[in-house]
């Protein structure tokens, strides 16, 4: 009889709070900064 071992779907582990804050800051200082500079440069 074949045995089936399930692999339960799991959400990838959520990064720690500090890492998420760092990610947000990097996005703000790249995408956000470039956007703001592009707005003021005209």
């Amino acid at each position: 009889m074949p045995e089936l071992e399930r692999i339960e779907p799991r959400l990838p582990a959520r990064p720690p709070f500090g890492v998420r804050v760092l990610g947000s800051l990097l996005l703000v200082f790249s995408v956000g900064l470039v956007s703001c500079q592009a707005m003021f440069i005209i």
Binding site: M1, P2, E3, L4, E5, R6, I7, P9, R10, L11, P12, R14, P15, V19, R20, L22, G23, S24, L25, L26, L27, V28, F29, S30, V31, G32, V34, S35, C36, Q37, A38, M39, F40, I41, I42
Partner: protein
């Protein structure tokens, strides 16, 4: 749902301010709600590019077509990236309810992350006239931030089962195929307006899933449930698709009644199948108990 008027006053809970303002239903908070909604929604990616839109509008006012095209184009790219990311996050979350199949997904979140980086680099190069090197650094920082906040999708196709031999692989494939049919059935049910038929189809979906669960627990049941997997699931899916297509064009009472009859029969067949599999479990257990009893008697333990 319990009637709040029948609940004794001391057991009634007070609604929080957020529940009152946002209209959140009592009892629908906490973990259950967290399971229903993706944890991250990608809102930041929609907010950060807004200055580019303002820049494009200012450029329009100043008669600068180049600024309009560059800022507007990059804004559109970043919005597309945000949308892909949001879809990717939702799809990642929706995957959690599937038990036997892992849908071959387009890595939307990864594409969203790459697009965010490329658009940021383009903005730095075209709009701000930074050099290639600095633009690449901007793109890399944006992608790193994206990765830390949302994460890229893992490479490779996720699997539902650890399959060690050929037979187990066959059972896993049959279960995945059957669950895919059930998903299509549930999707077709959403397009049907009649609430009664919708409920019946949803019930058939639930019954189907419980049969699949049973097969997954005891793979030998697959051979007993072959007819269910090959004939009935296909049949009900085809009929539902046909009904979903036709009832929008022609609102026929006869057609509706026929479809209802088919669904009633399918519900009965599924229930019968479920009971038959359960009965086999009981029979098998009976046999095992009998064998054990005989063995104990033989060895003089009883």
């Amino acid at each position: 749902m319990a009637d709040p008027m029948k609940t004794p006053p001391e057991q009634r809970r007070t609604l929080g301010l957020a529940e009152l303002l946002l209209g959140v239903k009592p009892g629908n908070t906490g973990d259950a709600q967290a399971l229903q909604r993706p944890r991250a929604t990608g809102t930041l990616l929609y907010i950060l590019p807004i200055p580019l839109l303002i820049g494009a509008l200012i450029g329009l006012g100043a008669g600068r077509l180049d600024a309009v095209l560059v800022d507007g184009g990059i804004f559109a790219l970043l919005m597309a990236a945000a949308d892909l990311t949001r879809r990717g996050l939702k799809a990642e979350h929706a995957q959690q309810i599937l038990r036997f199949t892992r849908l071959q997904r387009i890595p939307l979140k990864t594409i969203g992350g790459l697009l965010t980086g490329v658009a940021t680099g383009l903005a730095a190069f075209l709009s701000l006239d930074h050099g290639v090197a600095l633009s690449v650094v901007y793109a890399a920082v944006a992608m790193l931030g994206f990765h830390l906040l949302y994460g890229f999708e893992p490479l490779g196709q996720p699997r539902a089962f650890v399959t060690r031999d050929e037979r187990a692989r066959k059972v896993a494939a049959a279960l995945a195929e059957a669950e895919r049919k059930l998903i299509e059935l549930e999707q077709a049910a959403k397009t049907i307006a009649n609430p009664e038929l919708k409920v019946r189809l949803r019930r058939i979906g639930v019954q189907g899933r419980s049969i699949l669960n049973q097969i997954a627990d005891r793979p030998t049941d697959l051979f007993r449930a072959r007819k269910f997997l090959s004939v009935y699931l296909d049949g009900v899916k085809q009929v539902t698709d046909g009904y979903a297509r036709t009832h929008r064009l022609a609102d026929s009472r006869d057609l509706e009644q026929n479809f209802r009859n088919v669904l009633v029969t399918v519900e009965e067949v599924f229930e019968e199948q479920h009971q038959r599999l359960l009965k086999t479990d009981v029979l098998d257990l009976d046999v095992q108990i009998e064998v054990l009893k005989k063995q104990l008697e033989r060895e003089g333990l009883q």
